[in-house]
Symmetry: C2
Subunit: 242 residues, 2 copies
DNA sequence: CCTCGACTGAGTACGTTGTACGCGGTCATG
DNA sequence: CATGACCGCGTACAACGTACTCAGTCGAGG
């Protein structure tokens, strides 16, 4: 019951007032966990492994964090802190949202395991709140709050969806241990089987005609993002579009 | 090595040619697993639990499926089969995409655990392929394939993003065992703490002014979807917009 | 300055998971 | 009809999250 009295990892004080000085810190533990997850995936960031990384006993971590779920919340919020939204709103909404979108995507690509974190709910950690303030502040002067929320849902949906697609490649490659080219080669028989069946003409055109090496992923994202920003522009009052 | 020769769960034949009649089937196992995941979450769908559900021994499942990951792929593809895209393209692209979007969202809400399935990659299971053919077929006559893919990324990103938000509520409620109102009440101290700190003015406006009970989630989704469809309309050649 | 209790990091242990292995029985094929 | 491939299943193991416990240590009250 003593555990249940805090509703949140954010409300739970890191350290009690009395007692010996702790040897580690939440930030240090979170950092180590992120390092492991970056290198070997979230499933490799077990409590034992994280503890070993900082030179502690496995059970020591539970002095700092109630459980693994909460530690993952700390990790996720730490990642939000990597996104640069300094100086927003700058007055140029399109530049601001472009910078945010590219920053969010880049963060996802640096930490692909973020795709496997679900629970998050309205995370509402300090870094996530910082992001909300900065990004929603960009259009706040021009739009009612509900409109703003709706547009941000479209923007975030696009960026996260795109990032999720790219990341599932990265993760598949890491997990299976074969390169992307190797993977493609391995899957070739299946794709050919689908093409030859003749039942999937549009998939066939996707596989044979679309994107491929013509457009890099970066370029493709940029184009998609411009389209989304055009939609946002259309929803703004005319005097705010510049 | 005998396992590695199939690149895919979809390429691996369900049954070898010879030998006694099997007592179960992939479809039956998948069905049971989905039933359990719907009721108690994906993490409750363990191999033992699924086997018990159909009255089999735990290890029997491995005769039908190489491992748990592949079974989850089967489950995910089964879910895609629930989405009604019959008769697409009908000639009215906006009606078609609206039906698809609502169907996709409804499927997510029926099976919230889909949010926790990551690997999926380009799933390319039969049901997913069926969906690709139908949905991309809607705009196929009006757009080059790359444009079509880009627009579908925006649409899917919006629907899945919105569904993911709603679903994380559902899942949190199920996992914690308390109702949404109860959860809100429990979190109230934290939200008040944030509001009183004065550091998060926009979050404050979101909490106090926005949506709330004024708009149901359905209505909010409908509005957002209309906006996305307007964007798609703007990208179509003029003669196709009607 | 002393005392004492709250708090420390760590070790051990338990229950649950996915799944490797091997068994005796069974049925389609030669 | 003989045979061997395949059936479902029981046992076993390693790895996980974490509950419990304990000797040592720091800091506040007298």
């Amino acid at each position: 019951m003593a555990d249940a009295e805090y509703v949140n990892i954010w409300m739970r004080p890191e350290r009690p007032a009395r007692g010996p000085k702790p040897a580690y810190s939440r930030a240090q533990i979170t950092e180590a966990a992120v390092r492991i997850a970056d290198a070997e995936g979230l499933e490799a960031a077990t409590m034992r492994r994280i503890a070993a990384e900082i030179g502690a006993g496995a059970m020591s971590l539970y002095r700092y964090v109630p459980g693994r779920d909460e530690l993952i919340q700390l990790m996720a919020d730490r990642l939000m802190g990597e996104i640069d939204v300094e100086g927003m709103p700058s007055g140029d909404w399109r530049a601001d949202l472009t910078r945010y979108a590219h920053g969010l995507r880049a963060m996802w690509l640096r930490h692909p395991w973020i795709a496997t974190v679900h629970r998050a709910l309205p995370g509402l950690g300090p870094q996530q709140l910082r992001l909300i303030e900065a990004v929603m502040g960009v259009l706040d002067a021009h739009l009612p709050i509900d409109e703003n929320l709706g547009l941000m849902a479209v923007l975030n949906g696009f960026v996260e969806g795109a990032a999720r697609d790219e990341v599932s490649w990265t993760e598949e490659v890491r997990r299976s241990g074969v390169s992307e080219e190797e993977w493609q080669a391995r899957n070739y028989p299946y794709v050919r089987h689908l093409l030859e069946s003749g039942e999937y003409p549009i998939f066939g055109r996707i596989a044979l005609e679309a994107r491929g090496p013509r457009l890099g992923r970066d370029e493709q994202f940029r184009i998609g993002l411009e389209r989304v920003l055009d939609c946002i522009a259309a929803a703004l009052p005319p005097e705010a579009r510049a």
